[in-house]
Amino acid sequence: MHQDIFTKYTPNDKSYLIPLLQDIQTIYGYLPEDALSEIAEFVGIPLSRVYGVATFYNQFRLAPLGENVVRVCRGTACHVKNSSNILYAIEQALNIKAGETTRDKKFTIEVVNCIGACSIAPVITVNEEYYGRIGVKDIPNIMKKYQSKPKVEAQKKTEIGTEKV
């Protein structure tokens, strides 16, 4: 499904590496391994270099995002308001490190340099919702809220299942 992307660019030109990576990420939400190999071949540079670029920039992801993206602000104002503790608490609650996705693909933690809501620091966002002036104590409750939300696809599957019965 991403083959049309390559038609936009001329092969063997290194300068198209980053645009290609961005385009692939727009389609899949992350950079799949096979797509990286294809880009390497198209651009004419080794896969190791492509991988190096993909891991250098924060904008590129090598694994798909979880259902809920928890963004933790680590900007100056939030830092002063102990956002490092908030991040630690979230990592503990979800049992993953920043940048990782939980095994059940429910949560991804991302560290953001500034969300732009310094007045309510420390602040985190989950998907599009903002949680400001929070403390470490609030974290489990916030996470629980999203944990309990049933997965849409899973719901569909059970419906089909019941029909069959």
Partner: protein
């Protein structure tokens, strides 16, 4: 020409030279870490910083061009302090295990720490923790010891053009690794070991086989024999501070006997054997006109590269095993039968200038009756360590001769270790095979030297044979492209993965002395020159071997024992089934 002042000395330098080069020309040494001769400077490590008048900051001398009238200080207090700080920071984030490190005593970081008098840990911080990659049969990668100078990545990407490793991640997490941090064994790496030769620390090193060799020597049941590659004799002396390019063949044989090897053979013998088989194969292909051009297959790095990257071109490779594998095969068949030894009891050790040979010896197709042709491969560096453990004073050893019958060789075999050597040796024999006359002038100057691609046209019996010598795997892609497009005019192409050939192999002594390659090359040509017999087919033991065992080159038996096959190991285009987010 410009004139500048370095440490108050007037220096004349050419335009475009760097301060580093200008300083060197007047005997001022500036320390370097990330600098690699003949490659574009990166100026990453800053250890070569010098002070230039009217420049606000210190400048990296490896990347700063000279200009008229500049005043440079390479040894001011400010410069010394800056360099010391750099070394201190590098040392602090480096495992403090010099005493048990394989590069102890030959480590550039250690040397710098010593030179700048680092005597205490002034900085304390987080240490990087990375697992050692021991997946490859040839090499180990220890990212914890990496100081991120980037020399390995540049050799891999810019010289060898393999691109197996590169910088990934950033900041404190930066690490030189393969894509997805996978093991070297499943990466694009061809294990040539050029990265080991440029690594300032022990972050890249060979996988040692010393223990199994020592065990075999001490085993009561094993008949342990050893063979020495041509390139080792021209370089081993460097480990004992002998001048570059000293031929140490005699001492090497004596030393190996004292180590306890039952017999000491010469890989040169089977290099002659390889030539007879390869020349025969070449003539066969030329008369039939199929699978031309033919590539040499002596270099396992090249074979690995061809299999991984150009799996569609494998029919162009000569089916001959590499010389040391042939020697092992002959030892475990002909020699075992002749001497009445059970092949199972023979343990063949190869002393090679090469890291890929370790991987090669583990290939299952290079075996007879489930016995590997070669049981263990030691690099030149490992041999030095074995000598040291055994208390052998190398420089005081007498000169001894190889054991026969697998120790006799001609001059043609000696030059196998250098780029162009296999080609030259093959031509000497091919000429005889085609014309029945001995070639008078056996020196083919066109294929000697260190340029990347050497070509020549040889007239034999009125037929023009176009040959090419690819010096370094980085040059081979253009030749392969021509063949794919059907435009190649060549008949016979030699490929050596390491620039310069085996004399600059990944198992050779590690040091950054200039002219090491050219001196070793001269040593090998000198051995060739002083030999009475300089054409492979004149090797008498070899003639006996064919009479008693193989019949003639290319016979059924020789195909069974001396030839091999290759596999397409390209990563197959997998069906793409991505998860859409």
């Amino acid at each position: 020409m410009v004139e500048l002042t370095i440490n108050k000395i007037k220096v004349k330098a050419e335009d475009g030279m760097t301060i580093l080069e200008a300083a060197k020309s007047v005997g001022i040494s500036v320390p370097t870490l990330c600098h690699l001769k003949d490659l574009l400077p990166t100026g990453a490590c800053r250890i070569c910083s010098v002070e230039v008048e009217n420049q606000r900051n210190l400048v990296p001398s490896c990347a700063f061009p000279v200009s008229e009238g500049i005043k440079v200080e390479t040894n001011s207090p400010r410069v010394r302090r800056a360099r010391k700080t750099i070394v201190e920071l590098l040392v602090e984030n480096h495992p403090q295990e010099c005493l048990i490190c394989v590069r102890n005593g030959n480590c550039e970081l250690q040397t710098l720490a010593e030179r700048y008098g680092v005597r205490e840990h002034r900085y304390q911080g987080e240490h990087k923790k990375h697992a050692i990659d021991i997946s490859s049969p040839s090499m180990e990668r220890d990212p914890a010891k990496c100081i991120l100078c980037g020399r390995c990545t540049r050799i891999c990407n810019e010289v060898q053009k393999v691109g197996a490793i590169d910088f990934t991640n950033r900041g404190f997490q930066t690490i030189v690794t393969t894509p997805y941090n996978q093991g070297l064994n499943i990466s694009d790496c061809i294990l040539c070991g050029q990265c080991i030769l440029v690594c300032p620390t022990a972050a890249l090193r060979e996988k040692s086989s010393m223990k199994e060799v020592a065990n075999a020597i001490n085993s009561k049941t094993k008949y342990t024999v050893v063979q020495i590659a041509p390139a080792v004799r021209a370089s081993l002396g460097e480990e004992y501070n002998l001048p570059l390019g000293t031929d140490v063949t005699g001492k090497l044989v004596a030393g190996l006997r004292r180590l306890g090897f039952k017999k000491v053979f010469d890989t040169n013998f089977s290099a002659d054997l390889t030539i007879l088989e390869e020349a025969n194969e070449l003539i066969e292909r030329i008369t039939k006109g199929e699978n031309l051009p033919m590539f040499t297959s002596c270099c396992p790095g090249w074979v690995k590269y061809a299999e991984q990257k150009h799996g569609d071109m494998l029919q162009h490779l000569s089916s001959c095993k590499s010389p040391h594998e042939m020697e092992g095969a002959v030892l475990k068949t002909y020699y075992a039968k002749k001497m009445g030894i059970d092949p199972k009891d023979i343990f063949v050790v190869s002393i090679m200038p090469c890291t890929v040979k370790k991987y090669e010896s583990s290939r299952s197709e290079l075996s007879e009756d489930f016995l590997p042709d070669v049981d263990a491969v030691l690099t030149t560096r490992e041999l030095t360590r074995l000598f040291n453990v055994a208390g052998i004073e190398f420089t005081d050893l007498p000169d001894e001769e190889f054991d026969n019958p697998l120790g006799e060789s001609t001059g043609a075999a000696a030059i196998f270790g250098t780029s162009g050597g296999v080609m030259e040796a093959a031509l000497r024999t091919a000429y005889f095979n085609l014309t029945g006359n001995h070639l008078e002038n056996v020196d083919f100057e066109e294929v000697r030297g260190l340029s990347g691609l050497k070509e020549a046209t040889i007239r034999i019996n009125g037929n023009a044979i176009n040959i090419a010598v690819v010096n370094g795997i980085g040059q081979v892609d253009s030749v392969l492209k021509e063949i794919r497009e059907g435009k190649s005019k060549y008949h016979f192409i030699e490929v050596m993965a390491c620039p310069g050939g085996c004399i600059n192999g990944g198992g050779q002594p590690v040091h950054q002395k200039t002219d090491k390659v050219i001196s070793r090359m001269k040593a090998l040509y000198a051995i060739d020159k002083k030999m009475k017999l300089r054409r492979s087919y004149e090797n008498e033991s070899l003639q006996t071997l064919y009479k008693e065992y193989f019949g003639k080159p290319g016979s059924h038996k020789s195909h069974e024992i001396l030839h091999t096959n290759y596999f397409d190991r390209r990563k197959k285009a997998r069906k793409i089934t991505f998860e859409k987010n």
